[in-house]
């Protein structure tokens, strides 16, 4: 993340294109309105406020307009009152609406908060999925706002992949309501799948075919019009940096290339929602970095992403909102930094010592109202930033999502 708010005290804003867009107006302490009119949602206009800057997103079919250079807002804090700048309509050339559910909000962590977004790409309420005696998903609620990246974080068996399969109707929920891009599942799943791209956890490419042939097949399956097929394939391979391997057979590609090809395949038809199931599992750190860059590029383009992962760093780096899952349920959700601050504070004290010493520390921390977690040969005392009268020698480090996860679920994850 990146702080583009300077000394306005409203914290950080989102990354990628959001940052670029916001920076144009906000850096230099001169807030402005940014309008990003790049998708035909057919649902009107949304307004997001971000650190003193209004982001207007919404649409008229086929129109795209940037008005980020216009200085429309004199006082950034006034945006919290959900007032649409009076001349925003004139600046964007569109009829804007800032009423009701379209209220802009200021978010202090990620520039724009999920609550400020009125359209949901995914809406799950009370989803339950059982496999015999095993309940894989147990009453899950999940919202994925348009234009955001939401990460499902949890250990193996938490229900992440089952949730993904529910969203493509490859698994049917026993209970609950599911909507994807406004379509009710499973009845209208085919329509939803036409607008989604899916990169599965397990490689299911046709290994005896070339990169081009794999993409050609799926351009047919995703109904890319004949005249646009080659362009769509070229865009996808360029995005996935596979341009020089187009004619290579898949079984000649490295694991990282194959994973990039899976993502390219999911992007062929310009999906409105991309589902990434454990996109970097089993890959070495260098390849993982490459894929993160690819996913971040997608985010920057405003693609809505739902990503499952059991890598904490991955969720923390890529997701606007993280939903922590355990035993098929959501145990917490929110922007990563908010989750950390809310549940683990700013700092954690790591105290090393023999078991009896660690037990003493746990007792003392408990007496001071602090929460602890055992981490191998040490005990971590959470939320020590406030002092709380707790004075024990140890190593201080910033709190992280892992602290939150272990605290909330009692499970260690990768």
């Amino acid at each position: 993340m990146e702080d583009v708010r300077g000394d306005h005290g409203l914290g950080r804003v989102g990354r990628g294109a959001q940052v670029d867009e916001l920076q144009r107006g906000a850096v230099g302490g001169d807030p402005a309105v940014g309008a990003d009119l790049d998708r035909d949602l057919g649902v009107g206009v949304q307004v997001f406020a971000a650190g003193g800057l209004v982001r207007v997103a919404g649409f008229e079919a086929g129109r795209r307009r940037d008005v980020a250079d216009r200085n429309l807002v004199a006082d950034p804090l006034a945006l919290a009152d959900a007032e649409l700048p009076a001349d925003a309509s004139a600046a964007t050339g569109l009829e804007l609406c800032a009423e009701g559910a379209h209220e802009p909000r200021i978010d202090n962590a990620h520039g724009w908060h999920a609550d400020s977004v009125t359209e949901l790409a995914v809406r799950i309420r009370g989803a339950v999925k059982r496999y015999g005696p095993i309940t894989a998903v147990a009453g899950l609620d999940l919202d994925v706002p348009m234009g955001t990246c939401v990460g499902l974080l949890g250990p193996n068996g938490a229900g992440k992949s089952t949730t993904m399969r529910l969203l493509t109707a490859q698994a049917i929920a026993d209970e609950g309501e599911l909507e994807v891009l406004g379509y009710t599942l499973p009845e209208e799943s085919k329509q939803a799948r036409a607008l989604c791209g899916v990169a599965p956890q397990l490689d299911n490419l046709d290994v005896t075919l070339t990169v081009y042939q794999n993409l050609l097949v799926f351009s047919h399956l995703y109904r890319v019009p004949r005249a646009e097929r080659n362009d769509a394939i070229e865009r996808a391979v360029t995005m996935a940096k596979l341009g020089d391997r187009v004619d290579s057979r898949v079984d000649k590609l490295s694991g990282g290339m194959r994973r990039r090809l899976l993502i390219a395949r999911a992007l062929l038809h310009g999906p409105r929602l991309v589902l990434l199931d454990e996109p970097t599992v089993g890959l070495d750190p260098q390849v993982r970095q490459e894929l993160w860059a690819l996913i971040d590029a997608l985010r920057s383009q405003g693609t809505t992403i739902l990503m499952s992962t059991h890598y904490i760093e991955e969720a923390q780096r890529l997701a606007d909102t993280v939903l922590i899952m355990s035993h098929g349920q959501a145990v917490a959700s929110g922007p990563p930094s908010e989750l950390v601050t809310e549940h683990a504070g700013q700092e954690v004290l790591e105290v090393y010592g023999p078991p009896n010493r660690l037990a003493e520390v746990e007792t003392e921390a408990g007496a001071a109202g602090l929460r602890t977690r055992r981490t191998g040969t040490s005990v971590s005392v959470l939320g020590v930033d406030g002092g709380n009268g707790f004075d024990v020698d140890g190593e201080r480090r910033p709190a992280n999502l892992e602290d939150v996860f272990v605290l909330l679920t009692g499970e260690e994850i990768a």
Partner: protein, 266 residues
């Protein structure tokens, strides 16, 4: 918050041509990488049967059921070739694609339903069988089978029969828990059907009860239809035979869809 309004203009229906085309394109593109081996096995095997029975057994028996033995086997083995090039690839290919390659997971994540997937797969396999099934008949021509205009109908008979057997194979794969389970089907179902199809000897030599049962054997009906076509002996019986093949195909198609939905959709 509300979910995004769905663009209703994109409403899709059952059995969309584009979904069927997409699956077929995948098969055609894949076929370009393995057509040699598929063609080899689908043509050489029935040809060996033809040569072995036609000339080996044929040296002992000159005429069977009113036909020269080469003519009898050369036409009868068309149905066997269709069986080999439809039921077996459908069984093994389907199992491998969903169990090991996870190809169907990828396809079903696109706007394709199980019905469309199964239908397109069966159409493709039937088309291959329609072509490969004719090979033994063509091989028999240089060995004495007289060409006739009726032979032009044989690919269609082979296609209809192949569609049913393809769906049969897909259904078996859909119900099978492991690939080893196919042994039961091959030994207990396909081999008996193969032997009482009137391919190598007329079923009139069988006990009465077996002759009655043979009428329910789609393979036998295919054999009889091919002989009627090649030798120009069309009769009303052949309409009933065609009906049996159509019912067989329709029944197997629905069973295959049911089996694969159970397998692919949790």
């Amino acid at each position: 918050m509300s979910a995004v309004t769905a663009p209703r203009r994109t409403r899709l229906h059952r059995f969309e041509r584009s979904a069927l085309t997409g699956v077929l394109v995948r098969e055609v593109v894949n076929f370009s990488s393995y057509w040699r081996s598929a063609t080899f096995s689908s043509t050489v095997e029935p040809t060996i049967y033809l040569l072995a029975f036609g000339f080996g057994f044929g040296s002992l028996v000159s005429r069977v059921g009113g036909y020269d033995y080469v003519d009898f086997v050369g036409t009868g083995i068309v149905a066997t070739a269709v069986l080999f090039s439809s039921a077996f690839p459908a069984m093994f290919g389907t199992f491998v694609k969903y169990q090991f390659q996870r190809t169907y997971d990828a396809i079903l994540a696109a706007p394709v339903d199980t019905e469309e997937l199964v239908t397109a797969e069966a159409l493709w396999i039937a088309s291959r069988a329609g072509v490969y099934g004719c090979v033994p008949m063509l091989v028999a021509i240089p060995f004495g089978l007289d060409p006739s205009w009726g032979m032009l109908v044989v690919p269609f008979i082979a296609w209809i029969s192949g569609y049913g057997w393809a769906c049969f194979g897909i259904a078996v794969a859909g119900f099978a828990k492991s690939i080893e389970n196919f042994s039961y089907i091959v030994s207990a179902v396909l081999t008996p059907l193969f032997l009482v199809a009137g391919t190598f000897f007329p079923i009139s030599t069988l006990p009465d009860w077996a002759q009655v049962l043979a009428n329910f054997n789609p393979l036998y009906q295919s054999v009889q239809l091919v002989r009627s076509a090649v030798f120009g002996l069309w009769g009303w019986d052949d309409l009933a035979r065609l009906g049996v093949l159509l019912v067989f195909g329709l029944l197997m198609w629905r069973i295959a869809i049911h089996a694969m939905e159970r397998k692919l959709i949790d």
